[in-house]
């Protein structure tokens, strides 16, 4: 490493120590351990700044924070899976002794092979680590993929296919839900029958034109081509709306982190 890198790191360490000292001092008497509270807030603040520093350029502080996040996440999910799935769900159903060992209430249910199936499949999955019999893990993987696909198929068929087709069958000349006549109340109110009818027309034409755009068995010329052009406009507007939502979401996250820095760390706002 260059000498300048050592200097920057020393300055950061010094700033960290100063921040820790002052933060711990503000907690005096308010929390159980001011030193620990001060350290945690300072650490969170410095890690936040390390991540944000990437917008300037890639740097060692960003790399450190990124790797720390990935490592902690992996460890967290491994522990979480062990305690919630194996200890929480499986052990209370298969073993009195292990339940007692892990402090879980044993579920006094009749012996059931179904509960042993995940144990066997789990062991098969771990065999992937072996170069000789690693192929056996494919059986467990095939079971997982098949079960998930089977379970999802029914749900998606109902909710994303049948129900969605049904939702597209909207009345084009009446208000729909309220049953009010169109001519009885022509207003631009978002909940009025006129706007409801316009919405239904947008849904109807949007779906038809969107499908036409993805229909490649016929050349996109004439009326069909014009419908296809409307279809792509519908798609672009949808992507634009989604992008707008994404920007709003990202700004919210930035507000969340800056509020933490200004409020919890620096104490600039109450």
């Amino acid at each position: 490493m260059k000498r300048s890198t050592y200097i920057v790191m020393a300055v950061m360490a010094l700033l960290f120590a100063v921040s820790w000292y002052f933060k711990a001092a503000t907690y005096h008497g308010n929390v159980m351990s001011p030193l620990v509270a001060g350290f945690m807030i300072t650490l969170a603040a410095f890690l936040t700044l390390a991540i944000i520093s990437f917008v300037y350029q890639d740097n060692p502080f960003y790399k450190f924070a990124e790797h720390l996040f990935v490592g902690i996440s992996a460890a967290f999910w491994m522990c979480q899976s062990f305690w919630s799935t194996i200890v929480g769900n499986l052990i209370p159903r298969i073993s009195t002794g292990l339940s007692k060992y892990f402090g879980q209430p044993y579920r006094d249910e009749p012996w059931n092979f179904v509960y042993w199936l995940p144990v066997i499949l789990g062991i098969l999955l771990l065999l992937r680590l072996s170069s000789k019999i690693g192929w056996v893990s494919r059986w467990a993987l095939a079971f997982i993929v098949g079960t998930t696909a089977g379970l999802s198929f029914i749900r998606y068929l109902r909710s994303d296919f049948m129900e969605q087709i049904s939702s597209t069958m909207v009345p084009l000349l009446a208000a729909g839900n309220s049953g009010e006549s169109l001519l009885s109340n022509i207003t631009l109110s978002a909940t009025g029958p006129f706007v409801a009818m316009l919405t239904n027309w947008v849904i109807f034409l949007g779906v038809i034109c969107g499908i036409v755009y993805f229909f490649f068995s016929k050349e996109h010329t004439g009326l069909f081509g014009r419908a296809s052009r409307v279809g792509i406009w519908i798609l672009m507007i949808t992507f634009g709306a989604a992008f707008g939502y994404t920007v709003m979401g990202r700004i919210t996250l930035l507000v969340g982190r800056l509020t933490f820095l200004y409020k919890d760390w620096l104490g600039l706002i109450s």
Binding site: V55, Y56, W77, Q80, S81, S84, T85, G88, N89, P105, R107, L151, S152, R155, Y156, R158, S159, D160, E163, Q164, S166, S167, N177, A190, T191, T238, A241, A242, Y245, T246, V247, M248, G249, I251, T252, L253, L254, V255, G256, L258, T259, Y262, L268, I269
Partner: protein, 313 residues
């Protein structure tokens, strides 16, 4: 929609920031028109100022509730007092700034209407955020509400959509006890709730997998239970096709949270003094969006001008 800019409080800082941003944008426009490139860090700097100023010098707006948010509000209002409602915390700390205000507002509203609330999470990271809502909203604002009589915390259960697939028809099979290992059969408020299809309403707050979409697929549609979503902005557009048949309403992003908080204050003025992060965040949102829109306009002006100049050569 953001109503008239009802600016509250002393906002000299915001005015100075706005002047700074406006001056900077004009400088950038002139610089761009001269054909000089603008470094991306300059844009980040503008966004930082636009977001920071309203945080340090808060401005709030009165929000008018939109129909898709109002549908959720009206549904909770229309349920008879004592109805059992579930709120699922399916999010992590990264998503919390966006969706925790919704969860808090839902909790506040349900208790204000006298409903009984079942709290749960199908995200491991949701458990601690659920506890945060219990501490900051339930125990602080509604100390008279008793655990296991007015509300119950079922906690986190591993299994993703598998959990939902079971609890729609048999709650006790997946959750034999609550989070404190108290058997569900001994909890008075759950005496009539054998499965999630017995609930009056489910409020699915989240934005990833599993999230509101999975609640619709595995609980709402097969169990015929009304579901409303509080979703992170990124996932909100994917949920709109489910409205209004499969989702009775959607809160998408912090804007909807702010609308809901505004509606809560209008209906229940006693909540005017509580923290309203949704409304608080709309100041930074507004300024940041103004800056982004100005950059889009500048970018387009420069693009079309340079295109015309190239065609004239």
């Amino acid at each position: 929609m953001t109503e008239a800019l009802v600016v509250t409080g002393t906002n000299l800082g915001v005015v100075i920031s706005l002047a700074l941003i406006a001056g900077g944008v004009i400088w950038l426009l002139v610089r761009s028109l001269k054909g000089k490139e603008v470094e991306r860090r300059v844009i980040f700097g503008f966004v930082l100022i636009a977001v920071s100023a309203p945080i340090l010098f808060p401005i709030t707006f009165h929000e008018q509730i939109s129909p898709v948010v109002k549908a959720v509000f009206d549904k909770i209002e229309s349920l008879p007092a004592g109805s059992t409602v579930a709120i699922s915390f399916d999010f992590d700390p990264a998503m919390a700034p966006e969706v925790q205000p919704m969860a808090n507002a839902f909790t506040r509203h349900c208790f204000a209407k006298g409903h009984k609330v079942v709290f749960l999470s199908i995200w491991a990271t949701g458990q601690s955020l659920l506890t945060s809502t219990l501490d900051t909203v339930v125990r602080r604002e509604f100390p008279e509400k008793r655990e296991r009589i007015d509300w119950v915390n079922l906690g986190y259960k591993a299994g993703n959509q598998g959990v939902l697939n079971v609890i729609v028809s048999d709650l006790r099979k997946m959750y034999p006890t609550d989070v404190n290992a108290v058997p569900l059969d001994s909890i008075p408020m759950l005496a009539e709730v054998k499965a999630f299809r017995d609930l009056s309403l489910i409020l699915a707050v989240g934005g990833g997998f599993p999230g509101p979409k999975e609640w619709v697929l595995y609980v709402g549609d097969p169990g015929n239970v009304p579901i409303a979503a509080g979703a992170a902005a990124v996932t909100a557009p994917q949920l709109y096709p489910y409205y209004p048949r499969q989702l009775i309403g959607i809160l998408g992003g912090i804007k909807s949270a702010a609308e809901y908080e505004s509606a809560m204050v209008d209906k229940y003025p006693q909540f005017d003094s509580v923290d309203k992060p949704g409304l608080r965040m709309m100041g930074p949102q507004t300024l940041a969006h103004m800056v982004i829109m100005m950059f889009i306009i500048i970018g387009n002006i420069v693009f079309f001008r340079s295109k015309r100049m190239r065609s004239q050569l």
